[in-house]
Symmetry: C2
Subunit: 178 residues, 2 copies
Amino acid sequence: MYEEILDVAEELFMKQGYSDTSTRQIAKILGITQPNIYYHFKNKETIYYQVMRRLSNEVGKNLTELSAKATSFEEKILAMAFYLQQRHPFSLFMMMHDIQHTLNSETAEKMFTLWSDSYKKPFLDVFANEKQIRISVDSEFAVRQLFILISAYLDSPEERRKENLKQSVQLFFYGVLN
Amino acid sequence: MYEEILDVAEELFMKQGYSDTSTRQIAKILGITQPNIYYHFKNKETIYYQVMRRLSNEVGKNLTELSAKATSFEEKILAMAFYLQQRHPFSLFMMMHDIQHTLNSETAEKMFTLWSDSYKKPFLDVFANEKQIRISVDSEFAVRQLFILISAYLDSPEERRKENLKQSVQLFFYGVLN
DNA sequence: GTCTATACCCAGATAGAC
DNA sequence: GTCTATCTGGGTATAGAC
């Protein structure tokens, strides 16, 4: 049951965010009672943390794998962006907001560490090996910018999600001005 | 009282988002009772809409003014971005999420129209008059990308907010690659 | 492990007195 | 216009039986 709860919770947290997802709702989908969840988890916050821990592990592994497979800088970044979009159909901004404003600060800090290691680091590694980057561009900053852009296309509902993300990343590569 | 309620509601909606702001909280700050609010507004959703209507009007006017004052493309865009950052200390993403997932679809549509007219249009006008934009770049798309970036620096808590936003916009102008 | 029952709190909204 | 009282419904969490 433990893993099933995490499965359902992951989906709902992704779609609705932390506060708009209730333990009742999770229980209902699983066909169990709401208090039952409290046999498996101390409280709602630890469910959230465990969901994110599991997800981060998976994402970190897959991002690193993908970056090894592709050859050029642009291909690596695009492949990683597409993966995040497909695995993560929700806004990272919502997540960040939840983390900062709803969870207690101890949990928040642990979640930020998860993100740095699993999401940010694979991208930073790719940037570190690329020679064609403009000298005035700071890699840390650029990776953060890239995440902002990718995040915006995670919960976009339309059919053209993937092409939009591609167009966005290309704009990120080459800018708007001549 | 009507305007006072909107003042307080604006601040709270900005900081906390729609669902995490309660009518009780608004009332308490104003020193009135919670049901009193329902004399002035039909329900919570109309408060949100009126807050956004008032804000959009102001923002639309000021963005247009600012774009007229500055001379170069880069200066115009930066001035408008700084204004949004200073007037809007909250995440537009949170707002978009609230609009799409919490409000009823009729209200959502009206709010989207507000945004198109007051926020997007002034930027589109600036892009329309600029000759240095790369031919493969679509203005609509670029403006949306710019909003994504600006939004990310609205609720950033740090001291370096303004410099970060500037750096971000510059990356948007020139890209990461040579 | 899963259940029922329930405590407690907070939300949005309405009725009706003043 | 603002109040008190209250309805209804939702939330997290705990106690204790099976």
